[in-house]
């Protein structure tokens, strides 16, 4: 099983051109209890690209990435990941797709009844079905070393600070070697120094693992460090797109307000 999933990942990776779109969203609409959160979302994510999505709270940024990973079902439009329409996938196909996507939740979502080690081993033993203790240990230690928290391996999540939890959450996601990373406000609630550390870590991990990332944030320092390209979201639609400098010099008042 382990080799099947990982071989499929390798084959899939090899089959993509460098500029190929890994995520393609067209006309995405999503409403909750009659309130339309996403009105018309069009979004492309290229292989190896870091895309930052900016927007005020409650604009549907998190809803967009939850639609990408199939946690929420779209009302209308098309959400394609690796050229596959997410809504058309059956349970097993969706699970298979999810093994290629990493999702860092806003509050890290560490399993609080498990130690850090168990948190990291969970996807390896349950999804990749790894049984070799030595291989599991080496992968756990590798990602923990990558996020600089090897010492925390036997701690419980409740013993960790906010920044440490983010790092462990990132490590738990990266241990699956995902091709796409979705970050839901990775620096929210952290002090500026820790925020910068996390932003640097996101960039370093992206370079190390060659992932394509969508980073949802309203932390401009994080956006400046991590973004290859930014889009600004307002009222359920994207209103501006460009690199950091282009948007910083935008004439649009709302876009400018993010950079003040």
């Amino acid at each position: 099983m382990e080799t099947t999933v990982e071989n499929q990942q390798d084959q899939a990776t090899a089959s993509f051109e460098k500029d190929e779109l890994v995520v393609q969203i067209r006309g995405l609409k999503k409403a909750f209890n009659g309130f339309e959160v996403l009105k018309n979302i069009n979004l492309d994510l290229k292989r190896g690209e870091n895309l930052v999505v900016l927007g005020k709270s409650g604009q549907g940024k998190s809803v967009t990435i939850k639609c990408i990973v199939g946690l929420l079902k779209k009302d209308e439009g098309s959400v394609k990941v690796f050229n596959e329409e997410v809504a058309d996938l059956n349970d097993d196909e969706l699970k298979q797709l999810r093994t290629r996507i990493g999702f860092l939740f806003q509050n890290s979502a560490l399993y609080d009844s498990m130690t850090v080690r168990d948190n990291l081993e969970f996807p390896l033993t349950r999804v990749l079905k790894l049984k070799d203790e030595a291989e599991i240990n080496s992968r756990v230690e590798e990602v923990l070393e990558g996020v600089g928290l090897l010492d925390a391996i036997d701690k419980m999540p409740s013993d960790l600070s906010g920044g440490m939890r983010k790092r462990i959450g990132l490590a738990r996601t990266l241990i699956m070697k995902p091709e796409i990373m979705l970050y839901d406000e990775p620096t929210t609630g952290l002090d500026p120094i820790t925020s910068k550390e996390i932003s640097d870590l996101i960039l370093a991990m992206q370079k190390k693992y060659q992932t394509s990332s969508i980073i949802i944030t309203h932390d401009m320092a994080c956006a400046k460090i991590t973004a290859d390209r930014l889009v600004v979201m307002n009222d359920g639609e994207y209103i501006a797109e460009g690199n950091y400098e282009e948007l910083e010099n935008s004439d649009n008042e709302l876009v400018k307000s993010f950079f003040k």
Binding site: K95, F105, P123, R126, V127
Partner: protein
Amino acid sequence: MAEQALPAWKRTFEEAGSQILFLGAFFKNIFKSGFEWSEFIRQCYEIGYKSLTLVGLTGFIMGLVLTLQSRPTLADFGAESWLPGMVSLSVIREIGPVITAIICAGRVASSIGAELGSMNVTEQVDAMEVSGANPMQYLVVTRILATTIMIPILTFISDAIALFGGFLAVNIDGKVSFYLYFTKSISVLGFSDIFPATIKTIFFGLAIGFIGCYKGINSNKGTESVGLAANSAVVTSSLWIFVIDAIAVQLTNILAYH
């Protein structure tokens, strides 16, 4: 009025449908490969072993009080010798299973509802799902199976302790031997007393685990919903215990008369 009532009916049917689908998903996931043995054993420990003191104490008081309350009335009719049999019949057939299940609904269903509700609020369930793991198999199947197995065992222990409590109450003045009391208690019990009582405790366990998991997993995303999930799990599972008990009694009576 009818217009106002319609959405409530719709919600009730939606809720019923959702519960049936959840139960179906539970049964489907029992037989999937990769059963979570370590989590199942941990849940058996949490649900069974950690409830022992509460269930044991309740059972002891139940037997003691039932005996003390019944004794004067039976003595008035000169039927004091029936006391051990009456207590054991009451405890084994009805009071033991129901009281144990109600106690476990309060302790276990609320704990499962709050734990899974909290995991839901903090997106741990979503994280599990997004990683490609199966939250139904890891969180739900293990808990429901643990309650289904542990509640009958807890009931058996509670019944035994209740009978011992009854013995102590009868024996305060030291007139009845331990052997005589238990011979009198056990001799009145037949297959039709023990078997239906055991079967219904399995269903009590299933209801407690199922309702706790359903309410927890389907809680809303706010912190308030954790409390609501726990509360709703206790109320609903307690209600189901009485419903299952009523059905079990009717079925037992029908089978006994035929």
